[in-house]
């Protein structure tokens, strides 16, 4: 009797012990692969980089008064500290993927992927530093630290420019794998990547104009290798499956999910109120009221008792910036011309003036302004001031118009101390700002709650290193 039970028990235990190993070895993820192809990382990185430009643009457009909230004392208008945990995540998510892309490109001698990855890393890191200042980077991306420390923003600028230089070098060299349609920005055109890298070099160097590390010659020579026309613009065209996010804002607004309302500042700068000219671009950029008028909302004041629709100018579906398939602009020839104009203003006013006019024209061509209207505007004495009378104010005003909804404008605005004509503090301004404009974004709540010990203690008036 006894032996039977011992046998059964033994068999039971044996069964358990031997079968367990294989039977239980089924935990590998069947939905998400352990590794990703370099081209897949490129696709997502180019797509998400364009979206990051838009995401930051949607934050800064209220600060530079392109847009205004329909609600009074809206936090985005009155420069309250807001929680941009989502934007922070998106920036770091792309930089994480780019880290993987760069290391895979190095492993497989894919020099062009390596270069493009470095350029995109420079752009995303640059956008992050420009809005937040000190941020984690050197201890980031590989989970070596659960609470990564923050790097100094000035040092990070060194890294940005170095990434661009390395990117240019790698894009100019050989590659074991060529970039193709997986690249949503240039579809694998390496020449365009090189121009883009040089243009970005110009953009980030311009930020340092008021610092000791500024080098005008290097900036202008980088621009010489930059874009040569609108056709070179770095942009991602949108898709039937996924509409351009500004188009989505306009569509949502039509469906009463309010957004994309235009600031009075913007309307008045273009409708002949603040400046003598009526800008022909206005009707191509924003919508009118039901009565065909352009009426903005004063930032911070809200729409008063105006109804949700038809009484104010908003983004409307179907225009240049707001069509379903519209490209999201990452960097444009027009912007490059205004960078050139500003950089050359002191040393070479003629070059500056030519670049200024070229910048306006490039933007008007982009919007397909009628030739006659374009000429009329360009020949207006308030615009064609002549090389001798060109001012930084004029350059930055035109750059402000040409970079509609683009986050780069906030960098300009801070360097320019928000000195745009007639630009005033929003109504109901955040009282902690002591009647000054916002100078940076607050570190997001997620970061404070997850990495609080490393997050620098700053106020919204503490400036980024280049904005001193």
């Amino acid at each position: 009797m006894k032996s039977i039970y011992n046998l059964i028990l033994g068999a039971l235990l044996l069964f358990g012990a031997s079968a367990c190993e294989n039977f239980l070895d089924v935990n590998e993820n069947p939905n998400n692969p352990q590794d990703a192809p370099i081209s897949g990382l490129m696709t997502n990185a180019t797509y998400e980089t364009a979206l990051n430009v838009q995401r930051i643009g949607s934050i800064t457009s209220n600060y530079v008064q392109y847009l205004a909230s329909p609600n009074p004392a809206s936090s985005s208008d009155v420069m309250d500290p807001l929680n941009y945990s989502g934007t922070w995540f998106n920036l770091y998510n792309v930089m994480t993927d780019l880290t993987d892309l760069i290391s895979k490109a190095e492993e497989s001698d894919a020099g062009h992927y390596l270069g493009a990855g470095q350029v995109l890393m420079a752009l995303n890191l640059g956008m992050t530093v420009d809005i937040f200042g000190d941020v984690p980077y050197s201890e980031g991306f590989d989970f070596s630290a659960v609470t990564p420390t923050y790097d100094d923003d000035e040092q990070l600028y060194g890294e940005i420019l170095s990434l661009l230089d390395r990117g240019i070098q790698n894009l100019s060299g050989p590659t074991a794998i060529s970039i193709g349609d997986d690249d949503f920005i240039f579809q694998g055109d390496v020449d365009s990547w090189l121009k883009f890298a040089n243009m970005l070099k110009g953009r980030f160097m311009l930020h340092t104009k008021d610092t000791g590390s500024y080098n005008e010659t290097e900036l202008l020579s980088a621009l010489d290798n930059g874009f040569s026309g609108n056709e070179d613009d770095a942009a991602v065209a949108f898709f039937d499956q996924r509409f351009n996010p500004w188009a989505q804002v306009a569509i949502n607004n039509e469906n009463l999910l309010l957004g994309g309302w235009i600031s009075t500042q913007f309307v008045e700068a273009l409708d002949g109120t603040s400046y003598p000219t009526v800008d022909p671009r206005l009707p191509l950029m924003i919508g009118t009221t039901d009565d065909g008028e352009f009426i903005g909302v004063p930032n911070g004041a809200g729409r008063g008792d105006a109804p949700e629709q038809g009484a104010r100018s908003t983004l409307i579906p179907g225009q240049f910036y707001t069509s379903e398939l519209s490209p999201l602009l990452i960097a444009t020839y027009a912007e490059q011309k205004f960078i050139e104009a500003e950089a050359a203003l002191m040393s070479d006013p003629n070059r500056a003036y030519a670049a200024y006019l070229e910048g306006i024209e490039a933007h008007m061509d982009m919007l397909e302004v009628a030739e006659s209207e374009k000429e009329a505007y360009l020949s207006d004495p308030s615009v064609s001031v002549g090389a001798g009378s060109l001012t930084l104010d004029a350059i930055l005003k035109e750059k402000w118009v040409a970079l509609f909804l683009h986050p780069e404008t906030w960098n300009d605005a801070r360097r320019f101390d928000y000195g745009y004509k007639d630009m005033t503090l929003p109504a109901n301004l955040n009282s902690n700002l002591n009647n000054q404009f916002i100078r940076r974004l607050a570190y997001p709540d997620n970061e404070v709650s997850r990495n609080g010990e490393n997050v620098p203690d700053v106020t919204l008036l503490d400036r980024i290193w280049w904005d001193q």
Binding site: K2, Y5, I8, L12, L13, G16, F23, L24, D25, V26, N27, E28, N29, P30, N31, N32, P33, Q34, D35, A36, G40, L41, T43, N44, A45, E48, N71, S75, W88, F89, Y92, N93, T96, D97, D100, E139, G140, D142, F143, V146, T147, P148, D181, F184, F239, D240, Q241, R242, L256, G304, D305, P307, E308, Q309, N446, E447, S449, R450, N451, G452
Partner: protein, 1032 residues
């Protein structure tokens, strides 16, 4: 650890074998069991030798015969509805006994782990069960709802009133810090764990079913709730939140019985918010016939003078239908000494109160058992169900009701050509009719059991169970029909086909050894092996933009997206369960289990956990005063390990669902990283209880204290995005639940014709988050939208309870800036504009987990009549009322009638002096010349969460039943053995401070933990049923 355990088992095993030859003095006792009531024979009475599992059942004539170990053996006679009696055998060969109808539910048997029927007296932990009558009386299509209010410590919440909608069950509080954890108990049907998940729709909420709704309540014999870890140590990791053990009806020896039960139910909205009927369509007090704004216009009476058909339509009452439920069930059962069978068919058809909401269930069940020999028997059952219906988008329906003009008939929704009739806004009923979402679930739950008893002290049992279902879902939103001027529901239309296949397999083998050492000591040991596998696969294909309008096939769309999610989880467990019974008054139970899970890292995937519990029946040991019939003390200590979800370890890459775009598929590093060194979670719980009965069971009282600590919780810890990940799944944090449960019952009156039974339960649960992880301040469980900064968030914070709702509030004078809680007793600060000043920093406004829950059930019988009612309540619970947030934004609450009034807001100015400034509540320029913009309700009231987080307590008449059983005299002339007619009413709100729809409804569905948000959930319903039961 595994080795040690094996060693321990072997030791125990040897210990058992040693004594096994001491069996002596065996002999047979036989007799007849009758009822004291009428002296008739009682068939099917369970006769067990006390302290053992050896026993038999009386036959049709009430006769039994049983081999007993000796003269000291005590036989326990038990039968449902009768008081259990015990009788020492002595020298008798014949032992006849008469059982009396039961006065309480004290000595009943309860089905515990692996479907083993255990005498409740012997349990060292608290367990409660309800029988088939208590289940079917409730007239709840969803089995989970039948537990509502009936069991202490068990909170069952209807997620809404949709046909087939899920219900959530939580036992003794929430045990996990993981916002995505399923905190619900394991459901076990006839010893086989089954799936009770709720898979919500991917888009707008549609109130889908929890999978237990697939089971026909008419097939259920009893449900036991095993609450503590002690009760569930033997089910392993999956029962860490408790277990609900369901036993289905079986055939009984005797003649063939046929039972029919049928009912027709009608349901209506049980509660509406208080709404205004004075102001109509428009804005700023002006009437506009095509305005988006449903209720900010001019007074309706005023406009009516010029527009005669402009009138209040009472849409909120008219939009809802009277729901109908038709339930038919027939069963046939019977058997002889060798074999028994039970078969049933059931069909339920339900139409809900939101037009076009339906749910049907068709079930078929067959079970049988065969006693092949004295030593070998086997049984099996198969249960098929087909369920599903059209799940209307209730959130969207209610949202569109918000926008719909109160002066336009919502029922007049369709034009002759089939397009929507509207003044501009989307008609909610048109949407509910055409934007369909149908699910069709086919499910088979089956099991096979085999028992081999080579000797009377040894048995081998094997059980194989499966739970397989396929869930076919089709969502359609039509695009434009191509008719000029139509307002389409979607500019493109969409078709989404979802196919879910899930298969659970359970294998369970165990050996039972029994040993009686002498008259005082009885032991039994069970050793077993348990294997579980769940395979799950979901495929989704979505097509957008129909080429041919109204032809719904994926091939007819221009955009197609597809996705897939698979998972496989396996578990192997070894367990041992030793029961020791000393003199029938001291019961010791020790269990140990070792689980090996596929979901954990290989080095840590095997884990052992023990439990011990002790029951001491004082009344069997000491002589107590005669009024104290029964007294027992219980104590238990138990641990339960817990694994995690499959496929979460390490780092992976994911392709965002937006791809492919332009033929390219992008990849991104998954932002979740699963700790490669993950360890199993561990919950330790202790429980103490006292069970007493007085005056011959006229009254009984049971109190339990419990405390459980879940440590080393496997939770997704949020980490800095800069690390390359956002969430790190690791062991972190501890949560504690403790509380008391009180059960009071009895039979205050019991006479020949009249009886009154009462059963009440009350429980309190305290929850505390003991720790999260160093450097991590909070975990967000969920949030819900509110207009302009009134969005609320449920967050977990160390030192606080689960379920705190954070939101914006009014500034208070003298508020402590460090206080996380809003102190509503402090005066509100009024701003220079005369309105309360808002505080955007989110404070704790309330807690969504009820502190106290309870129920009281009364059953009266008088001759053939029965009257019973169940009242349940919850209190100490707050909820975010999203309905009121929307209603106030659109000027629909009754209180927004105050829109042409002046008001001095109660409060103080910043300097502490009382506010005296009068302000106007309307829109635009007031009579005082001040421009009030969009007015108080839109600019102030709706922006502050404080106004919408309020007390969601209730007292409900859960069920009221009046029944009449036809007397045998009348039935004598008919073919029927029994007949019963009854009327029942359900879910009637007796009291609630809540302003709105039924406060029980919430939007997360049974699977979600963010319970404190009403969303725009399917409103609760009350119902009345007419029932007929016939027995042949």
């Amino acid at each position: 650890m595994k080795k040690n355990f094996t060693y321990l088992l072997l030791l125990l095993f040897c210990f058992m074998l040693q004594g096994s030859y001491l069996l002596a003095q065996q002999r047979t006792v036989s007799g007849k069991v009758t009822s004291t009531e009428d002296g008739e024979a009682l068939p099917g009475v369970s006769i067990v030798i006390e302290g053992s599992s050896t026993g038999t059942v009386s036959d049709l004539e009430g006769n039994y015969s049983l081999v007993v170990p000796g003269p000291d053996a005590v036989l326990l006679f038990s039968f449902i509805g009768f008081a259990t009696q015990s009788e020492q055998v002595g020298n008798r060969q014949t032992l006849n006994i008469a059982l009396s109808p039961e006065a309480g539910d004290l000595d009943e048997f309860i089905v515990t782990a692996f479907g083993i029927s255990q005498e409740k007296k012997s349990l060292g932990y608290s367990a409660q069960s309800i029988d088939s009558e208590a289940i079917t009386k409730m007239k709840q299509p969803n089995l989970v709802n039948a537990l509502q209010g009936q069991v202490a410590g068990v909170q069952v919440t209807n997620s809404g009133g949709a046909p087939g909608q899920s219900a959530r069950i939580i036992i003794r509080g929430i045990n996990s810090l993981d916002p995505g954890a399923d905190n619900q108990p394991l459901f076990v049907v006839d010893g086989v764990p089954v799936d009770n998940s709720t898979i919500e729709s991917s888009g707008t909420p549609r109130g889908l079913s929890n999978r237990m709704a697939d089971v026909n309540p008419n097939d259920i014999e009893s449900m036991s709730v095993l609450k503590g870890a002690a009760a569930t140590a033997l089910y392993g990791v999956r029962a860490a939140n408790g277990a609900v053990i369901i036993t289905t009806k079986k055939g009984k020896e005797g003649q063939i019985r046929v039972n029919y039960s049928g009912s027709v139910g009608l349901e209506t909205l049980n509660r509406l918010p208080k709404l205004q009927d004075e102001y109509g369509q428009g804005f700023s007090g002006e009437y506009q016939p095509s305005s988006f704004w449903p209720s900010w216009g001019a007074p309706i009476a005023e406009v009516q003078q010029t527009v005669p058909d402009h009138m209040y339509q009472d849409n909120w009452n008219r939009a809802f239908n009277t729901g109908v439920q038709v339930d038919n069930s027939v069963s046939i059962s019977g058997g002889n000494e060798v074999a028994t069978f039970y078969g049933s068919f059931g069909n339920l058809m339900q139409e809900g109160i939101i037009p076009f909401s339906t749910w049907d269930r068709t079930t078929a069940k067959l079970s049988g058992s065969v006693k092949a020999s004295e030593k070998f028997d086997f049984s099996g059952s198969i249960n098929f169900s087909n369920t599903g219906g059209n799940r209307v988008p209730h959130d969207r329906f209610m949202e569109r009701m918000m926008y719909w003009s109160e002066t336009t008939d919502v029922r007049d929704y369709i034009n002759e050509d089939g397009t929507m009739r509207t003044y501009g806004n989307t008609n909610p009923i048109y949407d509910a009719r055409f934007a369909t979402y149908e699910d069709d679930v086919n499910r088979i739950i089956g099991n096979i059991n085999m028992n081999y008893n080579p000797t009377d002290w040894l048995s081998f049992s094997y059980r194989l169970g499966n739970d397989f279902y396929s869930d076919v879902r089709t969502e359609i939103t039509p695009g434009p029909k191509g008719i000029d001027g139509e307002v389409a529901l979607s500019s493109t239309g969409l078709l989404e086909e979802t196919r879910i296949n899930s298969r659970d397999l359970t294998s369970n083998f165990y050996i039972t050894l029994k040993k009686q050492f002498n008259a005082d000591w009885n032991t039994s040991l069970r050793l077993g092996n348990d294997i579980f596998e769940r395979r799950y696969d979901r495929v989704t294909a979505r097509g957008e933009n129909f080429v041919i309008p109204e032809f719904y096939n994926l091939n007819n769309t221009t955009q197609i997206f597809a996705g897939q999610g698979k998972s496989l989880r396996r578990l192997i467990g070894y367990y041992g369960d030793l029961m020791v019974d000393y003199k029938n008054y001291l019961f010791l139970n020790i269990t140990g289990r070792n689980d090996i899970s596929s979901t954990l890292p290989k080095d840590n995937n095997s884990f052992f956990y023990p439990s011990v519990n002790l029951g001491y029946v004082i009344s069997e040991n000491l002589s107590l005063p005669s009024w104290l019939t029964f007294g027992k003390l219980r104590a238990s200590w138990a641990q339960v390990g817990k694994d995690t979800n499959p496929h979460i370890l390490g780092a992976t890459y994911a392709s965002p669902s937006i791809f492919p775009l332009n033929g390219q598929v992008g990849f991104t590093r998954n932002s979740v990283f699963g700790d490669p060194n993950l360890r199993p979670e561990q919950t330790t719980s202790v429980e103490f209880g006292i069970q007493t009965a007085f005056w011959d069971n006229r009254a009984n009282f049971d109190v339990t204290y419990y405390k459980s600590n879940a440590k080393d919780q496997i939770i997704p810890v949020p980490i800095s995005d800069a690390t390359g990940f956002s969430s790190y799944i690791t062991n972190a944090g501890e949560i504690e639940n403790s509380g008391f449960e009180f059960i009071l019952g009895g039979t205050p009156v019991q006479t020949q014709d009249f009886s009154w039974n009462i059963n009440a339960n009350l429980s309190i649960n305290n929850n505390e988050i003991k720790s999260i992880r160093e450097g991590i301040d909070e975990i967000v469980v969920g949030s819900q939208f509110g207009y302009v900064g009134s969005t609320v968030t449920m967050k977990l914070i160390e030192g606080e309870a689960y379920g705190n709702i954070f939101g914006s509030s009014y500034q208070r004078l003298g508020a402590d800036p460090d206080n996380l809680f809003l102190d509503r007793s402090l005066p509100v600060i009024i701003g220079a504009n005369g309105f309360p000043v808002r505080n955007g920093t989110q404070l704790i406004l309330g807690n969504a987990v009820p502190k106290w829950i309870g129920g009281i059930r009364n059953d009266f019988t008088y001759k053939g009549f029965e009257l019973s009612f169940l009242v349940d309540f919850r209190t100490g619970v707050d909820q975010y009322n999203q309905y009121n947030n929307f209603l106030s934004a659109f000027g629909k609450n009754e209180f927004t009638e105050a829109r042409e009034d002046f008001r001095v807001f109660e409060g103080v100015l910043a300097d502490g002096s009382p506010n005296t400034q009068e302000v106007w509540l309307g829109q635009g320029e007031g009579p005082d010349g001040v421009d009030y913009g969009a007015g108080y309700w839109r600019n102030h009231y709706r922006t502050t969460s404080e106004n919408f987080v309020s007390d969601a307590s209730f007292i409900k008449l859960r069920n009221l039943t009046l029944a009449y059983n036809l007397s045998p005299n009348i039935l004598g002339n008919t073919p029927f053995r029994s007949a019963r007619v009854s009327v029942a009413a359900n879910n009637i709100i007796l009291y609630t401070p809540w302003d709105g729809f039924d406060p029980e409804s919430f939007s997360a569905g049974a699977g979600g933990n963010a319970v404190g948000f009403t969303g725009l959930g399917f409103p609760g319903v009350q119902s009345v049923f007419f029932n007929l039961n016939l027995g042949l």
